[in-house]
């Protein structure tokens, strides 16, 4: 009879066992903040559809100290999500060959962050002009 009895270790709390996994879980967790912000904007759209009073009520609610604090937290979480998103991007893209050479991971990450920054600034500029 075989003396073999392979032992399978439990996976409980696996993500706490390595700093790399903690960072991964924080990255995945911050996606909820991205969703929360999208939901906030969606509520604004619904309120707009309900008429002027509802829309103004939503605008007022956004100005409350609680809402401002919430948005500050959202901003930090979304910035972190953006950073870790582009950090993993070189691992998820097919090789990009430029001038016969594979593009370096740092260039891909840097390019992604740049694109996010430019897109944010363009959007901010547009909203700014509309608000004038």
């Amino acid at each position: 009879m075989s003396k073999r009895r392979p032992y399978v270790r439990p996976m409980d709390g696996w993500w706490k066992k390595n700093p790399y996994f903690v960072e991964y879980m924080v990255h995945e967790g911050t996606a909820l903040f991205v969703a929360a912000y999208a939901f906030t904007l969606l509520v604004g759209l619904v309120r707009l559809g309900q008429g002027e009073a509802a829309w103004n009520g939503w605008l007022e609610a956004l100005k409350s100290p609680l809402s401002l604090a919430f948005h500050a937290v959202l901003l930090v979480a979304i910035l972190y999500h953006t950073y870790t998103w582009f950090k993993i991007m070189p691992r998820t893209l097919p090789p990009i060959i430029v001038g016969g050479k594979k593009l370096a991971p740092a260039t891909i990450t840097g390019g992604g962050l740049m694109a996010a920054l430019v897109a944010s600034l363009v959007l901010l500029g547009l909203v700014w002009r509309i608000a004038q």
Binding site: Y7, V8, W14, R91, T92
Partner: protein
């Protein structure tokens, strides 16, 4: 051991299937020298302190892929990990994570071998070629397309780094998928459509959530995460393009 001899504590996860219900830690005092690898530490224990300690090793130079183990919770080849990087603190060594433990530091790799077989890890030529037609020719660019993915030494560190494999042992996993990609990318091969069935299957690439740690721990810079994620795109393309022109091996 002289009085002035420095020692380091090595804590080993022990498991004897004949006597133990579960693994337990045991600490050994090992004479320390600057040039000692973690593997040499384990060998000292086996030779001088406890001959029953079981672990795999062969080449001692990071090419055979046998001596992978968890060193302070991180997957490493123990032959190229040095005790001096931990001294004077205690070092903990354990069998590779996410694999069943056979005994002490020896894991059960049967599942991995099955996965390697399942990806058809050999060139399946596009068309039959007779000897008289001569060898297949390949340009440096065609070689570049797969060379990185052919450097895998089957050490399984990437599996020990992959929580999704830990949570679902059926996941084909990083190394096997990197090897699958290696053959798909080979200009001499014509079986990418056949292999697509496995890529897109329940146990295929979509188990991956892009943790990325597999590529971090790879001692040969294979970047298996890249192979897995490129094949997510390939599987999605195959799925949607099949509506336009039905083909491919996926069911």
């Amino acid at each position: 051991m002289s009085e002035s001899q420095k020692t380091i504590e090595i804590e080993v996860l022990r498991y004897n299937p004949e006597t133990d219900q579960a693994p337990h830690l045991q600490v050994f005092q090992v004479p320390f020298a600057d040039d000692m690898s973690v593997l040499q530490g384990a060998q000292y224990i086996k030779d001088h302190l406890d001959g029953s300690l079981s672990f795999r090793w062969s080449c001692r130079m990071a090419i055979c892929g046998s001596c992978g183990m968890m060193v302070n919770g991180e997957p490493h080849l123990s032959c190229q990990t040095f005790l001096r990087d931990y001294y004077p603190a205690r070092v903990r060594i354990e069998a590779l994570s996410h694999f069943p433990i056979e005994r002490d530091l020896v894991i059960n790799m049967e599942g991995f071998i099955d996965k390697l077989e399942s990806i058809q890890p050999y060139i399946i030529p596009k068309e039959k070629r007779s000897l008289a037609q001569g060898e297949y020719l390949q340009t440096p660019e065609q070689l570049n397309a797969y060379e990185q993915f052919s450097s895998c030494i089957n050490c399984m560190l990437c599996y020990a780094a992959c929580p999704q494999f830990g949570l679902n042992a059926d996941f084909v996993g990083p190394a096997a998928m990197a090897l699958l990609h290696r053959y798909n990318m080979d200009s001499r091969d014509g079986a990418a459509e056949e292999r697509m069935e496995l890529v897109a299957a329940e146990e295929g690439v979509f188990n991956c959530t892009a943790v990325g740690y597999c590529s971090e721990v790879c001692p040969k810079q294979v970047d298996p995460a890249n192979a897995v994620n490129i094949n997510k795109t390939n599987a999605a393309k195959d799925y949607f393009l099949r509506f336009l022109s039905p083909k491919g091996g996926s069911k």
